[in-house]
């Protein structure tokens, strides 16, 4: 087999098998998450080195699990692990690859529920799951939470410490304990979706996978309107995917998107799911965000959008899930509903609070409003600041183009 196809096979197994191998190794090592991740990584590295020449083994997942197990025993030996623990591990053959063992009808979903233990803070549950099971980098997770990589690294480290010290077991929760873990699992899915949504192409298929898992979740927990809310939100956003980037892969803002290319079928499906959820009269953050997305999707243009309704929905969102990003989005909607002055006052207050320091979209939104109230010099300065802060080259180019157009 040539090298290229072997590494393609490995990439395919990685997408599906990473979390299963990590889960197997967490159990094998008696709950050592760091060791489990390192061994899984080692196993894939070894596969990349040997498979192109030796060929892909007949049972790749079993091969990788065995390789990870052997690395674990090696590493435990070198770290002079407690004798009894090492003897036990060295005697134990490689465990079979992880298979699900509960009524949760999907392996990955089952692992997410297992990972999200309520003895950890919600954000720690989400970060740990994204890092250990979904294999996102600490930097990617930090960006999603709007914190520095260092802060996120410490947060994940502390979570793993508590798992080890308090002996938090890696055990699939029984059905009656799923609801208390649901908020964390929903967040994990949404952040995975967003990770895939931020790129012109989503090579790993994170968006599709998050939607697939949300569908499984909705049928598993039909009485949870927030699960439906999340699915609706993702479907309506997915519907806009084709219009979010131009041919060169540059991001296109909502106002300039070609609405004829929005997928009406997905929008319709999302809207119907949202309606069913809202009938339960337990509106939560995902249902409200889905309602906002549906409001945009229903409008023929930016000018004809029901902005007062959107401002009202952001007010609701602030009540159930306050966050500076929600305040920012509300201010942008307020500018459309009531004009730039009111919105600028809201943004200035937000900037003064320091809660979104370093966030490029705050600077970009302020620049836009300053320009609309005729404060051109300040607007330009603010937009340059946004360009400086933007996290990707694509976003920097978008903002530079805007600066050139002014």
């Amino acid at each position: 087999m040539d090298g290229e196809s072997a590494s393609e096979v490995i990439a395919g197994i990685y997408a599906d098998g990473w979390s299963r191998i990590v889960a197997t190794m967490i159990r094998f090592t008696g709950g050592d998450w760091n060791l489990a991740e390192e061994c899984a990584q080692d196993a894939f590295t070894q596969a990349l080195r040997t498979w192109p020449e030796a060929g892909v083994p007949r049972q790749p997942l079993a091969w990788l699990t065995t390789a990870a197990r052997n690395r674990a025993v090696d590493r435990m030996r070198r770290a002079s692990t407690e004798a009894a623990k090492l003897r036990r591990a060295a005697r134990e053959p490689a465990p079979p690859p992880y298979t699900r063992d509960s009524e949760i009808p999907d392996e990955r979903l089952e692992l997410m529920f297992t990972c999200c233990h309520p003895a950890l803070r919600l954000d720690a549950q989400v970060a740990l799951t994204l890092r250990s099971l979904a294999g996102l980098s600490t930097a990617e997770i930090a960006r999603a939470f709007l914190v520095s990589e260092r802060t996120m690294g410490q947060r994940i480290f502390r979570a793993k410490q508590k798992v080890a010290h308090a002996v938090i077991p890696f055990r699939v929760p029984p059905a009656h304990l799923l609801p208390e873990r649901l908020p964390a699992v929903l967040h994990v899915l949404y952040l995975l979706f967003n990770r895939g949504y931020d790129e012109p192409r989503d090579p790993a298929g994170l968006g599709r996978e998050a939607i697939r898992l949300a569908r499984v979740l909705v049928s598993l927990m039909p009485d949870e309107p927030e699960a439906q809310g999340l699915l609706a939100l993702m479907l309506v956003q997915e519907a806009r995917r084709a219009s979010r980037f131009d041919q060169d892969g540059e991001p296109v803002i909502l106002e300039d998107q070609d609405r004829a290319r929005w997928d009406r079928e997905l929008i319709g499906e999302g809207g119907a799911i949202l309606e069913r959820a809202l009938r339960r009269r337990r509106a939560g953050p995902f249902q409200i965000q889905a309602a906002i997305a549906a409001c945009h999707a229903a409008a023929p243009s930016t000018a004809e959008t029901d902005w007062p309704q959107i401002v009202g929905l952001y007010d609701e969102l602030t009540k159930v899930a306050p966050s500076p990003v929600v305040d920012l989005n509300r201010a942008v909607a307020l500018a459309m509903a009531q004009g730039p002055e009111a919105a600028l006052a809201a943004l200035d207050a937000l900037a003064d609070s320091g809660r979104l320091d370093g966030y490029h979209l705050l600077a970009a939104a302020r620049a836009d409003l300053l320009r609309r109230v005729g404060r051109a010099a300040e607007a330009e300065e603010c937009l340059r600041e946004a360009i400086e802060l933007a996290p990707s080259e694509g976003e920097r180019r978008l903002l530079r183009r805007r600066l050139a157009d002014w």
Binding site: A166, I168, R171
Partner: protein, 112 residues
């Protein structure tokens, strides 16, 4: 795995919502029997507490608690459990989980 179970009062608790809490004698008997509860007791209130410090080689005593906790700590138990889920299950069947608050602290142990 050993856990210290701190049994605490909750001054903000609405007594009408406590419900049908389990019996503490039964809890003690059951968990002693299983070897889960290694020891434990109620402790006397803050007015009976003494704080000890050694400074410059001299033993200094203070009448009263170290931190003004308003008599939050009512007692303690030492549990031997397989993992945190097990300890949570045991703690949740103690009457003070219903009529107060229980904090679980893992023992430091031999590692690191």
């Amino acid at each position: 795995m050993k856990y210290l179970m701190l049994v605490c009062l909750d001054p903000d608790l609405d007594k009408s919502k406590v419900g049908d809490a389990p019996d503490v004698e039964e809890w003690v008997a059951e968990n002693d029997g299983k070897g889960v509860r290694l020891l434990g007791d109620r402790v006397r209130p803050e007015s009976d507490a003494t704080t000890v410090r050694v400074r410059d080689g001299e033993v200094l005593l203070t009448d009263g608690p170290y931190v003004e906790t308003k008599d939050l700590i009512a007692g303690f138990d030492v549990l031997e459990c397989t993992d945190l889920d097990h300890a949570v299950e045991v703690a949740s069947r103690h009457p003070m989980a219903w009529g107060g608050v229980i904090e679980l602290r893992p023992f430091w142990g031999e590692d690191d």
